[in-house]
């Protein structure tokens, strides 16, 4: 029984080590690549260079003029969107960038949900 417990602890330790290695292996992305108009299906996001942006989803009969605002930051691979509420307050969302180039933006949240956007003119 004790042996079994030790094995479990070992596994956990190893897992934590691997996990820690991942933290140190985060990619860095060029923040200047992000501003612009990105689309993923019916979901649209627009990033302004000044750290503001807005998003809308035409599937819900929302137009660009009716888009909701957010502020964004990109720190290495961590993309933080603070969605601004009209009633006051923010709803923070944190994603990890997987890809960011002139045509493609891919980010993923902590629960493994991934979003792929295509740059729009």
């Amino acid at each position: 029984m004790k042996k079994r417990k030790l094995i479990i602890l070992l596994v956990i330790t190893i897992a934590l080590c691997f996990d820690g290695c991942n933290l140190f292996n985060k990619k860095k992305f060029d923040v200047n690549m992000l501003p612009g108009y990105w689309q993923s299906g019916t979901l649209h996001e627009y990033y302004n260079a000044n750290g503001t942006g807005y998003t809308w989803d035409t599937a819900d009969d929302v137009t660009e003029e009716e888009a909701q605002p957010f502020n964004w930051t990109l720190d290495e691979a961590t993309l933080t969107q603070n969605h601004l509420m009209e009633m006051g307050g923010i709803v923070p969302k944190t994603y990890t960038l997987k890809t960011l180039n002139t045509t493609t933006l891919v980010y993923q949240d902590d629960y493994g949900k991934s979003y792929t956007f295509t740059k729009q003119p």
Binding site: I12, A15, L16, L43, W56, D57, A59, D60, D61, V62, E66, Q68, H83, M85, E86, M87, G88, G89, I90, V91, P92, K93, T94, Y111
Partner: protein, 1020 residues
């Protein structure tokens, strides 16, 4: 003329003297012409004061048959006077007189009984200073002792044959002429009294005054016969018959008589010296028109004035012909525009003086039958006129008529009248009492031009005063009239737009008015009573009234330059009105209505009640109601309300209104409002709507700016209520005044019609509500503010209490379009039972599904916003929110999930499932609900829960067990949860010194969320 007669007699007398002289010489020279001529020429100076010439004197038998007489040939009397056209006074070819030879021879006595003048002229003249050529030219010798003869004159006959008489009097400025005068005078002369018979004829005669405005009389075939006496050579008494053909009488250029045959038969008495005349049984005919006259006249010898006192009576004359004979100089142009005919008879008097300045006063009783009357400029023609009237003609002042009876027809209209007409030949001021059976449409010319249709039958009883000028100039507005008109079958159309109908109307009129109660320039007072009235105005509506009593004053309706002004006190038993889709019935209405001009209206109303409907959308009814309304019409107003710009003070009781969109009616037990477009006050007004009842008071401003799109309709109201059903109220005001494009938008779900927030309104309601129903929740003690401002509905820090909790709610609802509705909530539930919270807000279970595992009281703070579809479904892509729950001593319910968790985490079976404290935060983003790590302590166990679940109910949670061992449990899945043991995700979450970067960030976000949510809680 009388002076001329006197002169004639004097002349004749003088001639007799000459005859006597001739006879004496005839006798003296033994009747030979030479001796007679010599004798007469010798004796003549004894009798004549003028030069004379007698060519020859001889005896005649035939001229003086049966007596022998003397015939003086070519007798000339010459008496020059300064200024006279000739010095010849008389020139006749023959002057003959008879002689009694026996007396002449035997007694040396010359008796002259007659003489005759033949073929000659007489020129009588008086110069401006009064010298004449015919006075004092004859004389009887005072001493006849030197003469061989004695003389007596006892004329029995004087004849003149073919004598032309000219008479010129420059002092009295007159001239007369008789041509071919034939005269026979028979009678006796005794002691200056003459009695006899005079027949005078002349081929032509003329008389003219020599002044600036000469009187000219002329005629021919004069035939004068006088049978009477001349007493003391002064008083003429007898019967006079005169016929003159083609008499012309002019004064200046004005004809008085134009070529009329005139006859006169009179029993008269004439005073020559005092120039008087008394007429008895005098018949005068001018042409075919006969006139009987009696009375007297006198000419003032000093002034020339003629004073008269005469009675006259005519036969029945054809009026038009007689009026044509009236001298224009007398009647002026007064009759020019009149066309009068009929059979007329006159009787009356002529009294007073006649001279250049004065005319006598003439009275006349006139009877007219079968008469007709029309006047230029007067649109009516009357016929079948019968009248009996009295005329007082005073040409010095005015001529007045008293109409004793007048009965006439104007077409099918029958009129009777009595009254007076003053100044008939001038202003023609009529004061009449008129009764008529009239068809009003026949008198359209007298009615306002804008009265395009006026059909009615009227029985009129009118007293009116008007004058000629008012009629001919159309100044009907200045006519005075009072009386009653009983109208029937009234059908009136004014200005092609305002119509009025009534089966019968009793109208009393008075104009001009005696008082001016409304200060609108009152001209006419009209009191109307009608059992039924119906009216309509194009583009406005219709009106039906029963038992109407309208006491109205109007300004001058007939002056087209004036706008209609109206002041009225009205009373109606019932009034039914229709204006566009508005239908209204008013009971026992009374009040006043004043229209100061088209733009200024004032209404006072009081009634037992009003029932009204607006299409199918609104039906309203009131109990007793009173209001005053003033309006200053502005034609530039954007809508009817803006145009009429009312100032209303309204009080009503027991009102209610049913709205199409409301199942329950709006009841108004009492309402007291002062309303203007700029500012309106609602005072102590009580309203019931459906299940709701409230008292509403406060102020509404900027209604005008709201309609002009210049500002927001602003309302600051206090709403107090024992109970409000907010669901019904929201239905009532849904979509009010939203843009057309918004209203036209079809909702996604065609059955849905969401609540659209009114635009252009700044409504601020302070609420004090004891109990309210919202959705399914009954809430109490609602206090706070409800605001609607330009498309936004805000519930600002509303304090509420329900069975579940004390609540505080700030909500924002916007409806930019039907399928894109914004809802934001800032909701705080204090001391709430968790199960009640989930029952009241089921969405809480969606946000924090683990919450239903707990029981007990908690504090819940929740801020969320999202856009909604038209059916209020969430647009999840727009959902943003944050929530925090804080609880103590919560019980974890023993359900399947708990059993699974306790089994996996090896809870002691004796462990009490109570949680000392709970403090959890979550954010909502789209369909993702992220629960931030929060610690839970149960018995000896301590764990940190965190994770995500999606609104599709997929879970990804982690429980980090910290005590008694560190262990992680992942709970993943949907309905079939998978439990997987792993590492503790947040092992050092509550150990700041050991927190990693992620844990620090998360803790910081938790604190931000919690603080942000709590910061909105208001002290209660």
């Amino acid at each position: 003329m009388k002076k001329g007669l006197k002169i004639t007699f004097i002349t004749l007398g003088s001639l007799l003297g000459l005859v006597i002289i001739a006879l004496v010489f005839a006798l003296w020279s033994l009747l030979s012409p030479a001796r007679l001529t010599k004798l007469v020429n010798k004796e003549a100076p004894n009798f004549l004061n003028c030069k004379f010439h007698i060519e020859k004197v001889d005896l005649t038998f035939f001229k003086t048959f049966p007596h022998i007489g003397l015939d003086l040939h070519e007798l000339v009397l010459i008496n020059p006077v300064y200024g006279a056209p000739t010095d010849t006074l008389l020139h006749v070819k023959h002057c003959a007189t008879s002689l009694n030879i026996r007396e002449l021879v035997k007694d040396k006595h010359v008796a002259i009984r007659d003489f005759t003048l033949q073929n000659g002229t007489a020129n009588l003249f008086a110069n401006p200073v009064g010298q004449t050529n015919f006075t004092n030219i004859f004389r009887l010798p005072k001493d006849t002792t030197s003469s061989e003869f004695s003389y007596t004159i006892n004329l029995e006959q004087v004849k003149a044959d073919n004598i032309h008489v000219s008479y010129i009097d420059l002092q009295s400025k007159r001239r007369a002429r008789l041509n071919d005068l034939d005269l026979i005078v028979k009678g006796t002369y005794d002691n200056n009294d003459m009695e006899g018979d005079v027949k005078l004829g002349a081929k032509t005669l003329s008389f003219v005054t020599l002044d600036d405005n000469p009187l000219l009389a002329k005629g021919h075939d004069l035939d004068l016969h006088f049978d009477g006496s001349l007493l003391q050579m002064d008083s003429l008494l007898g019967t006079l018959n005169i016929n003159i053909a083609d008499l012309v009488l002019h004064v200046g250029d004005d004809p008085y008589v134009d070529t009329l045959d005139v006859t006169l038969a009179s029993d008269l008495k004439v005073g020559l010296s005092n120039q008087t005349i008394d007429l008895r049984e005098t018949a005068l005919s001018l042409g075919d028109y006969k006139l009987a006259v009696e009375g007297n006249a006198r000419r003032d010898t000093a002034t020339g004035d003629l004073s008269m006192n005469l009675n006259y009576r005519t036969e029945t004359w054809p009026l038009q012909e007689v009026l044509d004979l009236l001298p224009r100089a007398l009647v002026g142009s007064a009759l020019d525009s009149l066309h009068i005919d009929g059979r007329a008879g006159l009787a009356g008097t002529v009294m007073g003086h006649y001279n250049e300045l004065q005319s006598p006063f003439i009275t006349s009783d006139i009877t007219l039958d079968d008469g007709t009357f029309s006047m230029e400029g007067f649109p009516l023609v009357f016929d079948r006129i019968h009248t009996l009237c009295h005329v007082d003609m005073d040409l010095n002042n005015e001529t007045n008529v008293t109409i004793k009876e007048l009965d006439a027809y104007n077409g099918r209209n029958h009129i009777t009248a009595q009254g007076t007409v003053k100044d008939l030949l001038g202003k023609m001021l009529c004061d009449l009492a008129i009764n008529g059976d009239l068809h009003v449409q026949d008198y359209k010319d007298f009615l306002p031009s804008k009265l395009t249709r006026c059909n009615a039958r009227a029985k009129a009883d009118i007293k009116t005063v008007f004058d000629h000028n008012q009629i001919t100039s159309g100044a009907y507005s200045k006519i005075n009239a009072t009386g009653t008109l009983l109208f029937s079958d009234v059908d009136v159309l004014y200005d092609d737009s305002l119509a009025l109908k009534s089966p019968s109307m009793d109208v009393a009129i008075e104009f001009p008015v005696k008082e001016q109660p409304y200060k609108i320039g009152e001209w006419a007072h009209i009191h109307l009573k009608a059992p039924h009235l119906s009216g309509s105005k194009v583009d406005v509506g219709n009106l039906e009234a029963s038992t109407a009593d309208i006491d109205a004053y109007v300004n001058n309706l007939l002056d087209s330059t004036l706008a209609l002004k109206l002041g009225t006190h009205y009373q109606f038993q019932t009034v039914n009105g229709q204006m566009d889709t508005l239908l209204a019935t008013m009971q026992n209405s009374t009040g006043t209505f004043v229209m100061r001009d088209n733009n200024k209206l004032s209404l006072q109303y009081a009634g037992d009640g009003i029932a009204a409907t607006v299409g199918k959308t609104v039906a309203a009814r009131t109990g007793k109601i009173s209001f005053t309304a003033n309006s200053h019409y502005n034609e530039h107003g954007k809508n009817m309300l803006m145009r009429w710009n009312p100032d209303v003070k309204l009080k009503l009781a027991q009102g209610n209104a049913s709205f199409q969109k409301l199942e329950k009616p709006l009841e108004i037990p009492s309402l007291d409002i002062d309303f203007t477009l700029k500012r309106s006050n609602i005072k102590n007004s009580r309203i019931k709507i459906g299940n709701s009842e409230c008292n509403l008071s406060g102020e509404i401003t900027n209604i005008d700016k709201y309609y002009e799109n210049r500002g927001l309709l602003t309302a600051n109201l206090d709403l107090t209520s024992d109970y409000l059903d907010l669901n019904q109220i929201m239905d009532l005001i849904s979509g009010l005044n939203a843009p057309d494009s918004l209203l036209a938008e079809k909702p996604e779900n065609s059955e849905s019609d969401p609540f659209m927030v009114p635009y252009g309104i700044n409504l601020h309601v302070k609420t004090t509500i004891k109990k309210a129903l919202f959705e399914e929740a009954e809430i109490r003690n609602v206090g706070g503010y409800i605001s609607i401002k330009d498309g936004q509905l805000v519930l600002d820090q509303m304090g509420l209490t329900s069975d579940a909790a004390r609540m505080q709610l700030t909500a924002l609802y916007k409806s930019p379009r039907k399928n894109h509705l914004f809802l934001g909530l800032d909701f705080h539930l204090l001391d709430i039972k968790i199960d009640k919270l989930i029952a009241m807000i089921p969405e809480v279970d969606t946000i924090l599904p683990m919450l239903k595992s707990f029981a007990g009281n908690a504090e819940f703070h929740f801020a969320v916003e999202t856009y909604l579809k038209s059916n209020y479904d969430l647009k999840y892509s727009t959902l943003r929110g944050a929530a925090a729950i804080n609880g103590h001593n919560l019980v974890v319910l023993d359900n399947e999930t708990y059993q699974n968790i306790s089994k996996k985490l090896r809870f002691n079976k004796k462990t009490e499932n109570r949680i000392d404290s709970l403090s959890a935060e979550a954010t909502i983003f789209k369909n993702e609900i992220d629960v931030y790590p929060f610690a839970v302590s149960i018995d000896k166990y301590q764990a940190i829960l965190s994770g995500r679940h999606n609104l599709d109910m997929t879970y990804n949670y982690n429980i980090s067990l910290l005590k008694p061992i560190r262990l992680g449990l992942d709970i993943i899945g949907t309905d079939k949860l998978k439990f997987k043991v792993g590492k503790a995700k947040y092992a050092d979450f509550y150990k700041p010194e050991r927190q990693n970067v992620v844990e620090k960030n998360v803790m910081q976000l938790k604190q931000q969320i919690n603080q942000a949510l709590r910061s909105n809680v208001r002290e209660q």
